[in-house]
């Protein structure tokens, strides 16, 4: 492929709320804009069945419906979308060359919004039993655990939302949490505490996941008493945090020690003309509204940068 790369004003990497919001703003600024997404648009939020905290929706909306609407809106204003994996970004003078599995694209400005993915816990049995009882998506896999006992590992918003979603299918949900209080927002805690099917194991960590050939047991240790207990479960839903998708950015923009992109209040990275928005940037609060806000800030910054 020796042909010269296609040129855009702005290339946006990642099609979650941050990237889509950026696309709405750059397209409306009449900047030629390409959004590169490795699968379908949506990002992490497509794993969520109900979004209750995005302003403007009095009834909850599904993550899929919300981001599909954002994508339609951006496309209406002229945003182009390409399904491809971004492998790197090369800086050539003031131009940026975004390298993808579908060829190279040059851009005057780049907005990095490739988000994060579920963190693995790294305990024995986790990898072997992935797809055999260990799951990273309760919305996807909940229905396979009808009338079965399951465990959810974690104590944040994602973990507690998943535990509540699982009450539709599972007979019992044990939340395994390493601290003595939840990080999840209060309204989710209230819902979880009110659910008879949900039990919370405080101060507890997973030691091992076992089964044959499917998960049938998880060994849990209380961090205060060091006492170990076995839980008989058919499923273990992992919700222990997220890691940023910044593999392709190493050596290009400055990352902090947890791998997120260092930015200033204008969403500018260490490289002029490269912006970052959403879960991928340092100190993100990992909320749809914040990602969308970041996207707008980055897009307006990109417009200013291009117009000089």
């Amino acid at each position: 492929m020796a042909k010269s790369p296609k040129k855009y004003d702005v290339v946006i990497v990642g099609g979650g709320p941050a990237g889509l919001s950026a696309g709405i703003y750059t397209a409306r600024a009449r900047l030629s804009s390409l959004l590169v997404e490795r699968g379908a648009v949506g990002g992490q939020i497509i794993n969520t069945e109900w979004v209750e905290n995005y302003p403007g929706f009095t009834e909850s909306i599904s993550g899929i419906d919300l981001t599909e609407a954002m994508h339609k809106q951006a496309t209406k204003f002229g945003l182009e979308t390409l399904v491809a994996e971004v492998t790197g970004i090369k800086i050539v003078g003031k131009q940026k060359v975004v390298q993808t599995s579908q060829g190279d694209f040059t851009a005057k400005a780049v907005i990095i919004a490739s988000g994060s993915e579920r963190q693995k816990l790294g305990v024995p049995g986790e990898a072997v039993f992935t797809g055999k009882g260990v799951s990273y998506c309760a919305t996807c896999d909940g229905p396979f655990f009808r009338d079965k006992a399951v465990a959810v590992v974690g104590g944040g918003n994602a973990a507690i939302t998943e535990a509540i979603e699982l009450t539709k299918f599972a007979s019992k949900i044990t939340v395994i949490h390493r601290r003595d209080e939840l990080r999840a927002t209060k309204i989710l805690q209230e819902k979880a505490f009110a659910e008879k099917k949900i039990e919370i194991l405080w101060d507890s960590v997973v030691e091992e996941i076992a089964g044959d050939p499917f998960v049938n047991k998880v060994t849990v240790m209380n961090v205060k008493t060091k006492k170990k207990t076995d839980l008989e479960v058919a499923g273990v839903f992992m919700s222990v945090g997220f890691k940023p998708n910044t593999g392709y950015l190493k050596g290009i923009v400055k990352l902090d020690d947890i791998g997120t992109v260092i930015i200033n209040e204008k969403m500018e990275t260490s490289v002029p003309g490269i912006f970052a928005a959403g879960d991928i940037r340092s100190s993100s609060i990992r909320q749809i509204i914040a990602a969308a806000g970041d996207g707008a800030v980055a897009a307006i910054g990109a417009e200013k940068y291009i117009k000089g």
């Binding site: 490795r38 497509i46 794993n47 994996e85 055999k132 396979f144």
Partner: protein, 107 residues
């Protein structure tokens, strides 16, 4: 241009197990977000492997017996069948290049 074919549970034996060529089965469901991420990638693979591999989509909602027979407990799951037997399984979203590597290794 080859596209993945959606099949009913009753057709699984004929279309997948009795097939002469390898068949990649995409187990999915409408309520699964990541399944929507995998679908466009599978469509591209269907074109790239046109004539060599058949691509089939199975909605687990309509095919609970098949899903349970093959131990599907996580979707999206891509399962490669050769001569009626599953030889490889990929769970969750993977970039296209990674899927191609797995497919090439298993073919």
């Amino acid at each position: 241009m080859s596209k993945p074919v959606e099949i009913e549970e009753t057709k699984f034996d004929e279309v997948v197990l009795q097939a002469e060529k390898p068949v990649l089965v995409d187990f999915w469901a409408p309520w699964c977000g990541p399944c929507r991420m995998v679908a466009p990638v599978v469509e591209e693979l269907a074109e790239d492997y046109d004539g060599r591999v058949a691509f089939v989509e199975v909605n687990v909602d309509n095919a609970p017996r098949i899903a349970s027979q093959y131990g599907i407990m996580s979707i999206p799951s891509l399962m490669l069948f050769k001569e009626g037997k599953p030889v490889d399984m990929i769970i969750g979203f993977r970039p296209k290049d990674e899927l191609k590597k797995s497919l090439d290794a298993a073919l």
